[in-house]
Amino acid sequence: MDQQLPEEPGASRQRNDWGRNMLSVKGLMAEVGGKEILRGLDLEVAPGEIHAIMGPNGSGKSTFAHVLSGREGYTVTGGSVTFDGRDLLELEPEERACVGLFLAFQYPVELPGVNNTYFLKAALNAMRKYRGEPELDAVSFMRLMKDKLKILHLDDSLLKRPVNFGFSGGEKKRNEIFQMALLEPKLAILDETDSGLDIDALRIVADGVNALRSPERSMIVVTHYQRLLDYIQPDHVHVLAKGRIIRSGGKDLALELEDKGYGWIVEEEAAA
């Protein structure tokens, strides 16, 4: 397996200033059940940037998101991931969250019997504790939740229900974005956040994401379709195929992909 990336035109758009970058992924290789999925993935994300990762089904997009978040069942067989100066792959999933990584799930998990407010408070206080900050009392927490709901134009009906339990697809995704607003990550990975959403729900979710953009917060938006990028404008677009980023560019690349599909890039890559 060739770990050396050929010099792609888009590669020049990536920053070489490793020290400055929030996330630095180098030659990442990972397997699922003995099957090689990621085969030398490189990615550099600077603070405040939004990167879109696109690619055909089975290209490894979701695997990449899961490996970053520390999900079990994935074996990293090579490469490195540095997040904010730390070796991310050494950390437990909860530690990754506490140092500022957030994964918005493609399929948010239903937790019957676990109250959403209780869950959010436990999550926020776990992170505050990790950082040596005092835990929020009930009143301060409720105030914070109200503020965040206002920013995202959400109502509080979701908070009284069990986490994601019986939620519609749109409600689940909104709950993910709400968690993101509350937990204020440095890096958010949105894994196919657009899947299963109608256009109205998509707009609400995208508006939420845009409201949370800041010079300190980076995002990796994993998506199959260009559609989401009409609402969330990326700084960089990468094409993932067969476990590697084979093309990087600006948001024009996404439009080109929408127009022409993935086939031509994959073929060009194979020919190269």
Binding site: E72, E94, P108, G113, V114, A123, A126, Y130
Partner: protein, 442 residues
Amino acid sequence: MSTTTQAQTNGVFDAWVADGGDAPAGPDWLQAARRDARARIATQGAPTAKAEGWRYTGLRDLMQQDFQRVHEPVSALQPGDIDEALIPGLDAHRVVVVNGRYVPQLSALGTLPTGVRVGGLHAMLQSDPAALEGRLTQIAGAGCHVFATLNTAAMDDGLVLLLERGAVLQRPIELIHLSVGMDEPRVAQPRHLIHLGDGAQAEVIERYLSLGDSLYCTNSLLEIELGRDALLRHRRIQLESPHAFHITGLYLSQGANSQYDGVNIGLGSAWARTDLVTRFRGEHARCDLSGLYLAGDRQLVDYHMDIRHDLPNCASSENFKGIVHGRGRAVFDGLVYVAPGASKTDAAMSNRNLMLSENAEVDTKPQLEIYNDDVKCSHGTTVGQIEPEMLFYLRSRGISAPLARRMLCLGFAGEIIDALGNEALRQHVAEQVGQRLEQAPV
């Protein structure tokens, strides 16, 4: 009399029914029931591992103990001594039973509505046995095993709650059953009788607690009779010493259109066996039993149910959830019998278990015996582990794995805890379950 008794009981349970103390002989009908019980102990003997109802519930540890019958009331306790047993914010008429004996000075009955009588069985057998006749020993009959027989032979005290026709209790009756360690291991055999007249309504919160970590056995028996249209909410919380043995037989007789709503929480003791037995005397009665049990390392929790639909148009449900960890063991054995004449029976049974360790064991056996086609009956059981994706979801939000597991266990248990209704009680039980889970090495 004591010599003949010893010969008849074959020795095994002699100490459980030994004569002595101040147990009232009671009226003739009770004396006859006791004689009959003593005679049956010998033929019944201790259940063997081959007996169907005891296959998964080993009696060896229990039988190895040298339990002595409690004869005297515990008089040393002062009201302040039970403060730690009280639930903050629980507004109830309080009855305290210590080692099987009603203790008026620890109880706080307050003002009871008209038509409601609350007292100790020991006292009432002397003052007004007529109020008990036809109910005490009649509701349970022979009972379902030798421990019921032992209780009948040796009962000397317990709660008597009598509601006249139409009487309504606004506040719950809280029955605190406290066990205090003695020099030698004791067996207390309280007998409780609850009778609700036609249209009467009450809530009973029954709590089994220990002062200290002592070794003892409680062999309690409840007889409950509901009149037509009567409604009883019954919450049973068992939270005893890790060395305690606990046996409960609950015999329920329901009149037409009556409702029994029972929630059983089993959190503590080394070994606990509960038999819930329901009979319908009239149509359109409803019996809902739900439960939550936690069996930790080396604990055994066993719930047996025997629901018999002999009449048409009655409904019953059983919804039990269990969390088992360490080398804990749980047994769920539910039998719903629908007789040929019991058309339009509605019966649903569910038992779901969460196993937190490889060494935990659950034996679950829901049984429907249906001899009528015009019924709606269902049953289901599950034995599973914490879903890895649920655990990961919580961890991905910064929550540590142990806390995430506890949250998921509490989420699983939440449905039953919420069914308790009473907010002070609900909070108390949620805290206790949380604490038990915190101690669990998961």
